[in-house]
């Protein structure tokens, strides 16, 4: 499989007044296309910082980050916006849908920033909403959708520009266990059926079990990186 992500000796240090707080202390990782990776660790382990850097939302203090063989760590803010728009789909714990905006329009939102015609936007939004299992309730605003439905809308939004990578930050954190499992099965399907590369941040082991590779962070370094032998795929 071809390489999608490579990070070399990634460091990130935050300054809190006079105190320097190290969040990442030398991360070296390689992630291929089509992988389904769970990044695990307690809060403060540096996993969120790592995700922000992978998502082109934050700059590393030092080290290099290659996405699709191009170094992106040093690009301009506008170029980052382009990468976030075209190459990366985000799924958040709190869904982060626009309030008072219909499900369909929420899914169309990323396409507003790359010049699709309104007909194309509409067609592609309907297509990905079908893919995540939301064929109806498209004109409902987020406050009239259940948590699981909102997260499906958010996943559809992440998929709509056909990114090469989905970054999901605790996507089941606000959901009950049944709905969490449904959402994780959806991620598995996207990975096996669509070949989508997914990187998932979680601190729950049973959620991480859905991924094929598990990377554990502690105090800003990777402490384990292993394939999930128990992984059985979406058929469970």
């Amino acid at each position: 499989m071809s390489e999608l992500i490579r990070v070399l000796d990634l460091h990130k240090t935050y300054r809190m007044g006079d105190v320097e707080v190290p969040a990442l202390r030398g991360i070296n990782l390689k992630i291929d296309r089509g992988e389904f990776v769970a990044v695990m660790g307690a809060s403060g382990s540096g996993k969120s910082t790592f995700m922000n850097i992978l998502g082109c939302l934050d700059r590393p203090s030092s080290g290099r980050y290659f996405l699709e063989d191009a170094e992106v760590g040093s690009l301009s803010a506008d170029q980052w916006a382009y990468i976030r728009n075209k190459r990366i789909g985000f799924v958040f714990q709190g869904f982060n849908l626009l309030a008072r905006t219909t499900a369909l329009e929420n899914v169309e939102l990323p396409m507003m920033y790359n010049g699709f015609s309104s007909r194309e936007r509409h067609a592609r939004a309907l297509e990905v909403l079908g893919l995540v299992g939301l064929g109806d309730r498209l004109d409902h605003t987020p406050n009239r959708l259940s948590g699981g439905q909102q997260q499906r809308v958010a996943i559809a939004r992440a998929l709509v520009n056909r990114p090469s990578l989905i970054l999901a930050d605790e996507p089941t954190g606000n959901l009950d266990s049944t709905t969490s499992k449904e959402i994780m099965i959806l991620f598995e399907r996207l990975n096996t059926d669509q070949g989508m590369t997914i990187i998932l941040v979680t601190h729950e082991h049973d959620i991480a079990e859905h991924a094929r590779r598990q990377i554990a962070f502690k105090d800003g370094v990777v402490i384990s990186d292993s394939s999930n032998r128990a992984w059985a795929g979406a058929v469970r």
């Binding site: 922000n52 939302l57 916006a81 382009y82 976030r84 626009l98 920033y113």
Partner: protein, 405 residues
């Protein structure tokens, strides 16, 4: 992102909070409305004064009899009989700065034509009055030198008198009677309208001053001498020369006061139009301040809006909005608000100035250029006061913005 879409997003964001958007716009609405209405009032006043000045005649000087001391008693102006028609002739003949001069004798009289009668101002004048006061003749002719020399019983009448006494008939060659003396109408004056004092200038009958002196009033003096200077620059020179000439003619010693007054109409006119201009500037600037306050209101609400929608900004950035997309979105929102307010304000301003014209009889005048400037200015207020909040939104850190509760 396309302009059309940015525009639509802005409209939807405003539609979500209609009352707030309206209240924010209200500042601009009142500001622009006030500018339009105030400037309309100022322009109207200026135009009225300009018209009144034109109807007085340009570069005109008025010589009035002054006070006169006779046996210890000081007689006020009007009660004295110091001016005669020869003074007028001398002024016209001897002074290079004067182009025309005419004596004027006047009295309120009852004028009869057939079975109708009408009280009007009868003025005894010289033919020069036509040039001095810029009278046009609508029908027939004006008085001429021969009429004055022979003290002819001829008259030219104003438009109001013609309408009152003759209705729609042609008055030329008809006969009117003043104190039982028949006068033949030789001409009708063109309409002039109201004077600056609000009197109807067309409500008058003009006859040769000699006829007035000899046949109607039996006097030898004149009430006033009207003088026209050759140019605006020489009005003051004419004033001095008239004073010198009349002091000589009236044999007034160096230590005695003038027995006449020379008044310069252009001074009065100039003062009036300066007053109007100052009033216009004052009204306009007060109104502009309210427009500025409206702009500050927009900035205030946009800042609140940026804070409230921090999370929305974060989401938009995460899915690929560039800083300039966010900037444009908020800027367009501010400009849409300001321009919509400006448009409503223009309608309000035009509406209220029309109402003032209709109900308060104020002579307001809408200048299309001012309307265009007010609209552009309200748009500029949107850009100016929207810029800082928009920049604040565009410079948000996406991670912080996404975490914002």
């Amino acid at each position: 992102m396309q302009w059309f879409m940015t525009f639509r997003i802005a409209l939807r964001a405003l539609a979500r909070n209609k009352l707030r958007a309206f209240l924010t716009m209200l500042g601009i609405i009142i500001g622009v409305g006030a500018v339009i209405a105030m400037v309309a009032i100022g322009e109207g006043a200026k135009a009225t004064i300009r018209a009144q000045i034109a109807s007085l005649g340009t570069n005109v000087l008025i010589v009035l009899p002054g006070s006169n001391v006779q046996g210890g008693v000081r007689f006020g102006s009007g009660a004295v009989r110091t001016l005669v028609d020869d003074d007028a002739k001398a002024i016209a003949r001897e002074l290079p700065s004067v182009s025309f001069a005419s004596p004027l004798v006047r009295r309120q009289e009852q004028v009869i034509a057939g079975n109708l009668n009408w009280g009007t101002l009868v003025q005894g004048v010289g033919p020069e009055i036509q040039q001095i006061r810029d009278w046009d003749v609508a029908d027939g002719r004006f008085l001429h030198e021969g009429d004055v020399d022979s003290a002819a019983k001829v008259a030219v009448i104003g438009e109001t008198v013609a309408r009152q006494l003759f209705g729609y008939d042609t008055p030329t060659d008809a006969v009117i009677r003043i104190r039982n003396i028949p006068f033949r109408i030789v001409g009708v004056l063109a309409r002039k309208g109201q004077s600056s004092q609000g009197t109807d200038q067309d409500d008058t009958v003009m006859i040769p001053y000699t006829t007035m002196q000899k046949r109607l009033m039996r006097i030898t003096w004149v009430h006033t001498i009207l003088v026209k200077a050759v140019s605006a620059e020489r009005v003051e020179e004419a004033e001095e020369q008239i004073t010198t000439l009349l002091r000589q003619r009236h044999r007034i010693g160096p230590e005695r006061d003038d027995d006449f007054n020379v008044r310069n109409l252009s001074d009065i006119a100039e003062a009036a139009s300066t007053t109007a201009r100052v009033m216009g500037i004052l009204l306009g600037s007060v109104a502009s301040i309210s427009l500025l306050v409206g702009g500050i209101g927009i900035m205030n609400i946009m800042l609140v809006s940026v804070t409230e929608r921090t999370r929305e900004i974060g989401i938009r950035m995460a899915v690929g909005a560039r800083s300039r997309d966010i900037m444009l979105q908020f800027l367009v929102e501010a400009v849409v608000m300001a321009a919509t307010g400006g448009l409503i304000g223009i309608l309000l301003g035009i509406g209220s100035s029309e109402l003032l014209k209709k109900w308060a009889q104020w002579p307001t005048l809408i200048d299309p250029a001012i309307v265009a400037v007010a609209f552009l200015f309200s748009g500029a207020v949107g850009v100016f006061f929207g810029f800082y909040p928009a920049q604040k939104a565009a410079n948000l850190d996406p991670i912080e913005a996404l975490r914002y509760e």
